[in-house]
């Protein structure tokens, strides 16, 4: 009964989405307020029904309703409650439902927090979001229904993949999807700008907080995924340039370009067409990413052939969205215009260069991700693209981008002077070069790459300090704290996010340059030395979990005789799927992680054990968190709310005047 209710709710949501995606757009084109006003109630009603559907599926999971095919494939009665809930988005159908839930959540948020927007704009934005929702809801209802019944019902479920039974994996997909789907709002704003031909600083101010929020979630989502891979896969790697990861990274790169381009559009009215194009690309890559990961193309191109309905639907949807919006762009972009002029040396140029570098990087990732799929689909052979390709491309493309991150915020808009910039940044440069040359020596070994990476990170920090300092000097005010308070939140957000990038770069550089790893055979009582730490294998015992049994090793770690930690790596066997799983033991520190994982038993009481020392690895995710916090600060900037309030006050006054007359 409950699953049928869910299905019915989805069907109703589809009808509302159709309403939301057509009538308000027609109304906006023809200037009919009553049609435009349908957008908000339709969007809110759609949210209610999608939420009901999601609730129904969750209910089926919690109550172990194995007469629902999707529940039977992704859950089990022995699964702990939190993972039964996470199981809702553990497979293809449920993650589509999560996607739609996120979309309707964003749409709902737009409909609520948009009282200051003109009616025709909001009708168009919600209309476009409605159309996207139509695509997803019909994809779900016609090809991937999560509520399909399994008759007769299964005795028990096939269980959730043990890898996904982890707190990180509970949070990762919702975060990531919040980001992916959030770019649909930026996309909807861009399309509405093309439709109305109105794209100005006000437009940019409306769409900026939405875009930044989406970017913030995407940043956190990717970081969570990377962190999960690090501790759960048992290999100690934090990024594999795997197609699944690339699928989330491409929209991030494009989104990063977009938030910078939007800044220029708001401040200078420039880069208009470019901004619109980036918004289209960011969303297109989000769609591509969702489908790449969830359609099974990556595991096998031939999954398409076994279920052609899904494949064809996906391709058609991508073609309609990307092709349609690019066609609209070609047709209407001239009405939007290019925007203000600027000189060769100016902040605009620096930002444009960064934008181009980010887009090229996204293109390089796209090439490396899709090329093997294409070749395979065409039957031209199988190959894979090695991680060194991505690494070389990123070092070379991102090095100038990171350098410009230091220069851009200090350069003047419209026209800057290189000699002046050089003078202002000379100390930042000298300090970062000297420190970067000396710092690797403290690690015991100097390598050019370590020095170079640290140079870029230090340069970003030093130039950010310089920027803040010179900004404070220009601010009138008696005391330093007053001056500090006079700066806007979005300015601090920018600085914080840039420092986050620096922290991230430190993490990557140190791990790449100084990580140590050893695979050894350890019998009980044996000790292995690595990176100054001694790992002693003290014993093994058996442990029983809720739905698994495990062998747990005990290792005592010492450094120079002093105790550092006791670590308990596990090898788990999950009861239902009988899969072995390595559960690594990690000792986290500010400047290093110790990482121990059990391989397999060899002979009596001896195991192959992998021990690793990972310097500064947590800085990688710490940097991402700082970037996201920077985004949060920027979104909380007063000017977005002040503008909103001013507008409502004007409306109130106008309404009052109308009433009085």
């Amino acid at each position: 009964m409950i699953p049928e209710l869910g299905q019915f709710a989805l069907a109703l949501a589809l009808i509302l989405a159709l309403t939301q995606g057509t009538l308000p757009l027609v109304g906006a084109a023809r200037g009919m307020p009553s049609w435009m006003n349908l957008a908000r109630p339709a969007a809110q009603g759609q949210f209610v029904f999608v939420a009901i559907a999601f609730g129904c599926l969750t209910y089926s999971f919690i109550n172990n309703d194995f007469s629902v095919l999707y529940v039977a494939s992704n859950s089990n009665s022995a699964l702990p409650l939190q993972y039964r809930i996470a199981g809702v988005w553990g497979g293809h159908e449920g993650s589509l439902l999560l996607w739609v839930l996120m979309l309707s959540l964003w749409t709902m948020a737009v409909s609520v927090f948009s009282s200051h927007l003109p009616d025709d704009i909001i009708a168009r934005v919600l209309g476009v979001l409605g159309l996207i929702s139509v695509g997803f809801l019909s994809f779900m209802l016609f090809t991937s229904n999560p509520f399909d019944r399994l008759l007769p019902a299964a005795m028990d479920g096939r269980d959730l993949n043990p890898l996904l039974q982890d707190p990180g994996m509970v949070l990762h997909p919702p975060m990531l999807y919040m980001g992916y789907v959030g770019f649909s709002v930026a996309f909807a704003f861009a399309i509405s700008a093309l439709l109305s031909g109105r794209l100005d600083a006000t437009w940019a101010r409306w769409s900026r907080p939405w875009t930044t929020t989406a970017w913030m979630f995407l940043t956190l989502g990717i970081a969570l995924g990377s962190w999960w891979a690090y501790y759960e896969l048992g290999w100690g790697g934090w990024w594999f340039w795997d197609p699944v990861e690339n699928a989330s990274f491409m929209p991030w790169l494009m989104g990063t370009a977009l938030i910078h381009s939007l800044a220029v559009t708001e401040k200078r009215g420039a880069f208009k067409s470019w901004t619109v194009l980036l918004a289209i690309f960011a969303f297109a890559l989000s769609l591509l990413g969702t489908f790449l990961v969830r359609s099974g193309v990556i595991t096998s191109v031939h999954a398409f052939a076994t279920d052609p309905k899904r494949g064809i639907f996906i391709l058609a949807f991508l073609v309609i969205v990307i092709g349609g919006s690019l066609a609209l762009f070609a047709w209407r972009a001239h009405r939007v215009g290019l925007g203000g002029h600027f000189e060769v040396v100016s902040r605009e140029t620096f930002l444009l260069t960064n934008n181009v570098l980010l887009v090229v990087a996204a293109g390089a990732v796209l090439l490396g991700t899709l090329y093997p799929l294409f070749l395979d689909a065409l039957g031209l052979g199988k190959l894979s693209v090695g991680p060194p390709y991505f690494e070389i491309v990123f070092v070379v493309l991102m090095a100038p981008a990171l350098f410009l991150m230091g220069v851009g915020p200090l350069a003047r808009w419209k026209q800057a002077s290189l000699p002046e910039l050089a003078v202002r940044l000379k100390w930042a440069f000298v300090v970062s070069v000297v420190t970067a040359l000396l710092l690797p020596l403290t690690m015991g070994q100097w390598t050019p790459l370590a020095s170079f990476g640290l140079l870029l990170a230090l340069w970003i920090v030093a130039s950010s300090v310089t920027t803040l300092w010179s900004r404070l000097k220009q601010t009138p005010g008696a005391s330093l704290s007053k001056k500090l308070r006079a700066q806007s939140r979005s300015y601090y957000g920018m600085l914080l996010a840039h420092v986050g990038v620096a922290v991230f770069v430190v993490g990557v550089t140190m791990v790449k340059s100084y990580e140590a790893e050893k695979d050894v055979r350890l019998a009980i009582g044996d000790t292995v030395e690595l990176g100054g730490y001694a790992f002693r294998f003290d014993g093994l015992n058996e442990v029983k979990g809720p739905n698994y049994t495990a062998v747990r090793g005990t290792l005592t770690v010492t450094r120079g005789g002093a105790g550092v930690a006791t670590m308990y790596p596990e090898k788990r066997i999950y009861n239902v799927q009988k899969n072995a799983m390595t559960e690594a033991a990690i000792n986290t520190g500010f400047t290093r992680d110790l990482y121990v994982s059990l391989g397999e038993p060899v002979g009596d009481n001896a195991w192959v054990v992998r021990v690793q020392v990972k310097p500064f690895v947590d800085w990688i995710w710490g940097g991402c968190v700082l970037m996201a916090l920077g985004g949060l600060l920027a979104v909380l900037d007063r000017r977005y709310r002040v503008a909103a309030r001013a507008r409502t006050r004007e409306d109130a006054l106008a309404a009052g005047a109308a009433a009085a007359s």
């Binding site: 181009v356 390089a364 090329y371 491309v393 050894v520 391989g599 192959v608």
Partner: protein, 161 residues
Amino acid sequence: MKPRHRRITLIVAGVAGLAVAAALVLSAFQQNLVFFFTPSQVASNEAPQGRAFRVGGMVEVGSVKRQADGVTVHFTVTDTAKSISVAYKGVLPDLFREGKGVVTQGRLENGLFVASEVLAKHDENYMPPEAADAMKKAQKTNQKAVSTIVNVPSKSGVTTQ
């Protein structure tokens, strides 16, 4: 410089920069393509010498042998027609098992495939598509081979008699 000249310089610099970036990306791309070969293809010397590539198939039952150091493993990957000996030093993935599909990446050294990576995915029923493909191909050629073997003796039988 006049503004127009400046703009031209900017455009030229931009295009040149993009061209360099594209050239770099493509050459790095070319160098890092890792091709996939089946054990049969390796046996007929189609795989490159001195360049990394991937081999996939099934881990032959009873072929996994740990060396005395406890860390190096030798095993045989087969596509049912031909097989190839693989050496790998380190911890094997959780789902690496005899009789299951596997994909390894490495180089040929004197007929031994020295693997730097062993990939086995985290799903009991999952066979890496490359491995499945290798087996299928081999089975097809096997059938051909079987039919020729069936034909050949009858002919040779005639001639020797």
